[in-house]
């Protein structure tokens, strides 16, 4: 980038001036402006500075005004006019411009600023008026914080120059080579690494937890399985024993059961016998209740029917109208006892008959009986029904008793047949074993359920572990990323250090070369150093002491300019260098020649505008400079308020 044109209106002594910076073919991009002190030379630098940053380069009092005094004197009170500086910038992409304008009104004879505006028009004709946008654009041309390395006041190029500029310079260099981006990247990479470290640590905790769960469940499961195996073996063993015992006891009754059974049967037999006694007694009572019977016209069938109501050995007293008889059943045959009565029996019968004859009840009963055979028969039938019923009961009881007796007899015989105690012991063992087996089977079922449950739980844990295995892969990936991040951070840190060091070294080398080409005196100077803060030091050859502060004003100026040029070259700034009074204070033809040589050299690749006092340069160096310059102007300003650029060599104004 270079300045193509500068247009000044009402800026201090310049009422209306334009300078076109045209690089002549075969010439350097070098422009020289001569001016007598106080005629507007430094003000030209002020005008550029004001256009760029809204303030002048030189420190002046507040009561001064930039408004042209000649124009002001022409203006009427209350009349308005403006100050304007326009800088056209030429670059590979086109022409852009910076224009600053301040409006003034004449009041009480003075110029009072009423408004100020700045605009930037880019290569595409887009106009920017926002202050921040314009500042950004201007910074792209000449960065404000290091503007002193572009717009240089020869008077101030002393050793203090660096102490005032080094910090801003360090920041500028950092930003220009994008070390600020590297810094930011390091912060961001560290931030991400911190997060990843945390993720990694958290993953580790989860793994520990699930592994401890696995160990616990695995332990429980193995224990349950062992227990189940033991129980299963015990069950098999018991089954075998039981089978063996059963085989042994095949056909052998359970004696204890038989004993119990026989006892039960005996109890029942006893009960049946008691019941039989009871029934027999009851039958007697019935017989006594209904008998003795008086049978009329009784035939043998009727007698036999009667006989059916009695039991073997039982007597049935029967009274007929002719005789008193006793019917009895002996060995299934009816015996009419009356026919074989012995003396005793006869007597008994006589007694009975006597009793009977005396018994009014019997008499009455007899009379009653006599009154109707039907009634007798009815009563007889009632008797027979009851007798038949009780006989049936008695017969059944007797059958039962017989059966019981038979069964008891059978069991007794069986019990006699076997070694009862041995059998009892075996049967008891069989029962115990079977009970134990049942218990074990129940335990086994319970354990099987438990094992199933634990296996499910274990399966779940294995699934989790599988997930964690995937997570482990993820963790490995995470670890790789963390390691990679560490390497990247180290690389970025090294990059930052080394780039900065490279720049420092390159500036040192170039500044030393330039400085040496101008003022190097092998007798005095050893080397030039640029420290980490981009401060410059020069060392004495003999003592190796820092002699920077012992440099003369001229040497300091050369050092500063050499450094500035080195900076431009290393950072590759393509904007111009404008120096006011670069030679003032430098004595010695050789030094001046070297200075001129340096400007000519750098103007090969960079625009250089030199503002020189009219007596600053003479002789051969001046001729050399003017020969190489594309344009040389002289400021003509006889009144002090109407400066003009008059071409001396080439150039247009």
């Amino acid at each position: 980038m270079r300045i193509r044109r500068i247009s000044l209106r009402n800026f201090r002594p310049y009422r209306s001036q334009k300078l076109l910076f045209y690089r002549e073919y075969g010439k350097r991009d070098l422009f020289v402006i001569y001016g007598i002190t106080g005629k507007g030379k430094s003000t030209f630098l002020d005008a550029i500075h004001w256009a760029l940053y809204g303030m002048e380069f030189q420190m002046r009092g507040n009561n001064t005004t930039i408004f042209n005094r000649a124009r002001l004197s022409e203006m009427k009170e209350g009349e308005r006019d403006y100050v304007e500086v326009l800088i056209e910038i030429e670059s590979d992409t086109g022409i852009s411009s910076i224009r600053r304008r301040a409006d003034f009104i004449k009041k009480e004879g003075g110029a009072h600023k009423i408004a100020e505006e700045v605009e930037f028009v880019d290569e595409n004709g887009i106009k920017y008026t926002d202050v921040n946008a314009v500042s950004a654009k201007i910074n792209g041309f000449i960065p404000r914080r290091v503007k002193n390395f572009f717009l240089m006041d020869g008077e101030n190029l002393t050793r203090r120059f660096f102490s005032n500029s080094s910090r801003a310079l360090a920041e500028e260099i950092r930003d220009m080579v994008q070390l600020d981006v590297v810094d930011d990247a390091i912060v961001k990479l560290r931030n991400i690494k911190q997060e990843k470290d945390k993720e990694y640590a958290e993953g580790n905790e989860s793994l520990k937890k699930i592994m401890s769960e696995k160990i616990k469940v695995e332990g429980d499961l193995n224990k349950a399985k062992d227990e189940l195996e033991e129980i299963s073996e015990e069950i098999v063993r018991l089954k075998n024993e039981i089978e063996e015992l059963r085989r042994e006891l095949t056909g052998i009754p359970d004696v204890s059961q038989l004993r119990k059974k026989v006892e039960l049967l005996r109890r029942r037999l006893k009960e049946k016998n008691a019941l039989l006694e009871d029934k027999i007694q009851k039958k007697r009572e019935i017989i006594l209740k209904y008998g003795p019977f008086v049978l009329f016209d009784a035939d043998i069938d009727e007698i036999i029917e009667f006989m059916n109501g009695i039991e073997e050995g039982e007597d049935m007293p029967v009274v007929t109208d002719k005789s008193y008889l006793t019917l009895s059943l002996k060995e299934g045959r009816c015996v009419l006892c009356g026919h074989v009565l012995g003396e005793e029996e006869k007597k008994k019968i006589e007694r009975d008959l006597e009793i009977l004859s005396k018994s009014q009840e019997i008499v009455d009963h007899r009379s009653k009986l006599l009154r109707g055979a039907d009634q007798i028969r009815e009563r007889r039938n009632e008797f027979l029904i009851q007798i038949e019923e009780i006989n049936k009961d008695i017969a059944n009881l007797r059958d039962d008793i017989s059966a019981l007796e038979l069964e008891i007899k059978e069991i007794d015989r069986t019990l006699d047949q076997f070694n009862a105690d041995e059998i009892v012991r075996k049967w008891e063992k069989l029962k115990r074993d079977e009970t134990r087996k049942d218990q074990l089977i129940a335990d086994k079922t319970r354990l099987e359920a438990k094992v199933e449950e634990l296996e499910k739980e274990y399966e779940k844990i294995l699934e989790k572990i599988e997930v964690l295995a995937i997570a482990t892969e993820e963790r490995m990936k995470l670890k790789r990323e963390i390691e990679f991040l560490e390497r990247l951070i180290k690389l970025a840190e090294r990059l930052k250090r080394e780039v900065k060091e490279d720049i420092r070294r390159e500036i040192k080398k170039e500044a030393e070369r330039l400085f040496k080409s101008i003022v190097w005196n092998p007798e005095s100077f050893d080397r030039l150093e640029v420290d980490e803060a981009f401060g410059v030091k020069v060392y004495h050859k003999g003592t190796n002491l820092d002699m920077t502060y012992e440099l003369s004003g001229g040497q300091s100026k050369i050092l500063t300019m050499a450094f500035a040029v080195a900076l431009h070259r290393v950072i590759k700034y393509d904007s111009p260098i404008i120096v006011d009074r670069p030679i003032t204070g430098i004595s010695g033809d050789q030094l001046i020649e070297s200075m001129v040589k340096m400007f000519v050299e750098i103007a090969e690749s960079k625009q250089v505008i030199l503002l020189l006092a009219d007596d600053e340069l003479k002789g051969e160096p001046q001729a050399r400079l003017e020969e190489e310059a594309s344009s040389v102007w002289i400021i003509d300003n006889p009144t002090g308020d109407e400066a003009q650029f008059v071409p001396k060599v080439g150039g247009m104004a």
Binding site: V181, V182, D184, E483, F484, A492, L495, D502
Partner: protein
């Protein structure tokens, strides 16, 4: 358009990086940071982008 890191930094990265993955990754990370700094109004999702770059090149570096 993806912002480009200056030639000086790029050359230095090439010189210092031990692997191609390192070189590519740092260059891309710097581009993301630069893009983030240049687009103040429209914030770039730098964290997501840098994480992606790390994942991509950490794996590539492993191979």
């Amino acid at each position: 358009m993806v912002p480009v890191i200056g030639i000086r930094i790029r050359s230095k990265i090439r010189e210092l990086a031990e692997t191609e993955a390192e070189e590519e990754a740092l260059r891309e990370v710097l581009s993301v940071v630069l893009e983030y700094r240049q687009n103040v109004e429209k914030r770039v999702q730098w964290k997501r982008k840098i994480r992606q770059i790390i994942a991509k090149y950490a794996e590539a570096d492993e191979k």
